[in-house]
């Protein structure tokens, strides 16, 4: 690890030394060849290009260079597709051209964007045989907006192009305004279904920047919250997956089970989404001995009913018929696209920040993986992760001291001219936040990466060759965040 003073996640470091353009890109290519994955890659208002590459807590490099002189450089995406979305963002935000980028299209259409949304350059086959189907931004269900453009041959999808940006709220800019320590409610809204995941990433980044390290018991409470969120959202997905194939028993079983879990969060912090539970420096609500017992009892009852319901789901031939071999993704695609989370683990790509970048000095953690990379595998990973999270929560609760006290004191001013990076395995996958403080301690930059940013492209690949009527099922099996990607 270069230039860093904190040995593990969250990281805090002086701003990395600027190296020349050639050295910067050569090093990135070397690290990619060594199996490092890009955590972040962005330009800053100071005309600096940042890149963070890592394999795990020990093998990590932060790199910096000036903007390329001619405003262009040979794209990394051509050799390393993982960079394609980063380079699209870089081009949209700063006009730096990654030469020979295969798919250099607008990403979010921010207010100052030169391209209007209606002028999005969709891929066009110009075929006499194929037809196009446009869906969205407003969808049939109660979900976030995005536009899907299918090119179909009869019922079969040849190509899908996903146009996002409808959800762009300028959240990074809002994070940069004012005292960074007061941004908790905003961090919880990066993606409301991942309030704990993004909230925790924000807390860790701010704490690293301010030089605070909360107690082990506080971290344990936060991890309980994180795993509760994972269980709740996996249940929401199992419910919706059942609904999409008209397996109405599953739709209702898992929805009711989710109610039980999110009401447990409500009982502790007042929010079914775990909003207002965490805060930088500590937590707002601890878990008393009595709450600890109630939670454990609730989860015991939950577990029995959950396993009964899952047995019914995965034992139903009609369900298996629809899940099996639908929307497959290969391990190679998962690695090339820098995928993470359920969708990556479902094609045996063993990435999980809980193992690779543990927040606490963790006991051994082994991610759940499946081989087949299809809807079945993604449902199965969810089922197995729920059981794994139950074990984790039980363990964490057993280590909590009685009436575990909370730390909600004020935390000190941010350190000046530092960079903090935090990584959290949210229920969708790897969340990365990057926070840079200016010479006067104000926030110079706040960058947010939801796993959806990388995983959206995988959805487009997964549906190739599938019937268009299976798109909702494939989409739900990924369940990616629109606002997490659009920010």
């Amino acid at each position: 690890m270069d230039n860093t003073s904190s040995p593990h996640n969250p990281y805090v470091t002086d701003l990395p030394k600027l190296i020349d353009n050639a050295g910067f890109f050569t090093r990135i290519r070397q690290l990619c060849a060594l199996g490092y994955i890009p955590l972040y890659y962005f330009g800053s208002a100071k005309s600096i290009l940042h890149c963070g590459m890592a394999k795990n807590n020990k093998e990590m490099e932060f790199l910096c260079t000036g903007f390329p002189k001619k405003g262009a450089y040979p794209a990394l995406s051509t050799d390393f597709p993982a960079f394609h979305i980063f380079e699209r963002e870089l081009f949209e935000e700063w006009g730096i051209l990654p030469e020979a980028h295969p798919w250099l299209k607008p990403l979010r259409f921010p207010p100052d964007s030169k391209v209007k949304m209606k002028d999005y350059p969709f891929f066009n086959s110009k075929s006499q045989v194929l037809h196009e189907v446009g869906v969205g931004p407003v969808h049939a269900g109660v979900i976030e907006p995005g536009h899907f453009r299918f090119i179909c041959h009869g019922e079969s999808i040849e190509h899908l192009e996903i146009q996002l940006g409808y959800q762009h709220r300028g959240i990074c800019k809002l994070m940069q305004k004012g005292d960074i320590r007061t941004k908790m409610p905003l961090a919880e809204m990066i993606a409301g279904d991942t309030a704990i995941g993004h909230g925790l990433a924000y807390c860790l980044a701010v704490e690293a920047l301010c030089g605070v390290q909360p107690k082990q018991s506080v971290q344990s409470i936060r991890l309980v919250a994180l795993e509760l969120e994972r269980i709740a959202m996996h249940l929401a997905d199992l419910s919706a997956l059942s609904g999409d194939i008209a397996y109405l028993s599953g739709l209702n079983f898992f929805a009711a089970l989710r109610t039980t879990v999110i009401n447990s969060s409500l009982a502790i912090c007042g929010s079914r989404f775990g909003k207002r539970w965490l805060r930088p420096g500590g937590v707002n609500y601890g878990i008393s001995a009595q709450q600890n017992k109630v939670l454990r009892d609730t989860l015991d009852t939950f577990e029995a009913q959950f396993n009964r319901s899952s047995k019914a789901l995965f034992g139903d031939s009609g369900v298996l018929n629809r899940f099996d071999s639908t929307g497959s993704i290969s391990l190679q695609a998962a690695q090339e696209l820098n995928m993470s989370g359920i969708t990556a683990k479902a094609c045996s790509y063993e990435v999980d920040a809980r193992k690779d970048f543990p927040i606490k000095e963790a006991e051994s953690f082994e991610p759940v993986t499946e081989q087949s990379g299809d809807v079945y595998a993604r449902a199965m990973v969810r089922y197995r992760e729920i059981n794994q999270s139950l074990e984790l929560i039980r363990y964490l609760l057993s280590t909590l001291p009685d009436n575990s006290d909370i730390e909600s004191g004020d935390i000190p001013q941010p350190n000046k001219a530092k960079m903090a990076v935090s990584i959290v395995e949210g229920w969708r996958g790897r969340i990365v936040h990057v926070l840079i403080s200016a010479d006067d301690g104000s926030t110079e930059l706040y960058k947010i990466y939801d796993p959806s940013l990388h995983n959206w492209f995988a959805l487009a690949l997964a549906v190739r060759g599938e019937g268009i009527s299976d798109f909702p099922l494939c989409n739900k099996s990924f369940d990616l965040s629109y606002c997490g990607a659009d920010l």
């Binding site: 407003v138 109660v142 959800q167 762009h168 109610t259 409500l266 009913q305 909600s408």
Partner: protein, 250 residues
């Protein structure tokens, strides 16, 4: 088959018997209450509030993101009752005001909308548009139809097409990039129609009110019939609000 029956038996009866009179956990931050008009607390809370919901001597639930910071720092001045009856039929009604004469504060009220009641009392179909909603309000609106809350029992449903809808329920602060699609969806709903704003972001823009990427122009010219605050709005608040609007909360 037997696995399914076992699961079904274990599942039992899940519906909340009467969502309009349900018990909610005491930790739920519902209707805001001002306990006293303390000048200093209000001045400090005004600074603290992330959405400028607090001014002397009022708290605007349409702006509040229910982070609870004011009630934790100044528990003698601010509190949130575990009461999900948070909706109001007027924007002004969401502003909880201190009333010095009685030393109490106002509470949000939903007045029955006679026009809507006449037409939609037994069946009210809504089209949801999420315009930069963070997916929390969307999930809660979805949960309102689930097996626990089951608003379908009252003839309340969220439908797939604006052509089938009697109204629009908006979630999210309305990003500039969604403003056009929102307006088109509204125009596609046949008259007579009603607009409902669900969640703090939809009501006031919430945390995003000052973002350059938000465009709430259309909302200024389109009056809403119901405002349901919350971050996110709770399913019980949603059901209570709509039922009260249709005069069915008895």
């Amino acid at each position: 088959m037997f696995e399914l029956l076992k699961a079904r038996l274990g599942h039992g009866y899940q519906a909340i018997p009467n969502p309009l009179k349900a018990n909610i956990n005491p930790s739920f931050p519902g209707v805001a209450v001002i306990l006293r008009a303390d000048e200093q607390d209000f001045a400090l809370a005004e600074q603290l509030c992330p959405t400028q919901a607090i001014t002397k001597y009022s708290l605007d639930m349409g702006k509040c993101c229910f982070c609870g910071e004011c009630s934790r720092k100044f528990p003698d001045t601010f509190t949130f009752k575990p009461d999900f009856r948070m909706a109001s039929s007027s924007r002004e009604g969401l502003v909880i005001k201190w009333q010095p004469q009685s030393a109490t504060c106002s509470v949000p009220q939903v007045e029955v909308n006679r026009d809507l009641q006449k037409l939609f009392r037994r069946s009210f179909a809504l089209r949801n548009v999420s315009a930069a909603g963070c997916n929390a309000c969307e999930l809660e609106l979805g949960a309102s139809s689930n097996v626990n809350f089951d608003m379908g029992r009252y003839g309340l449903e969220v439908v797939a097409s604006p052509r089938h809808a009697d109204g629009l329920i908006l979630t999210g602060p309305v990003s500039a990039n969604m403003a056009g699609a929102l307006q088109e969806t509204w125009e596609a709903i046949p008259e007579p129609k009603a607009l409902i704003l669900c969640g703090t972001c939809a009501i006031s823009g919430g945390m995003f009110a000052k973002s350059g990427a938000i465009d709430r122009g259309w909302l200024e010219s389109t009056p809403a019939v119901l405002y349901i605050p919350g971050c996110p709005a709770h399913p019980l608040s949603i059901i209570h609000g709509i039922m009260s609007l249709l005069g069915r909360n008895k």
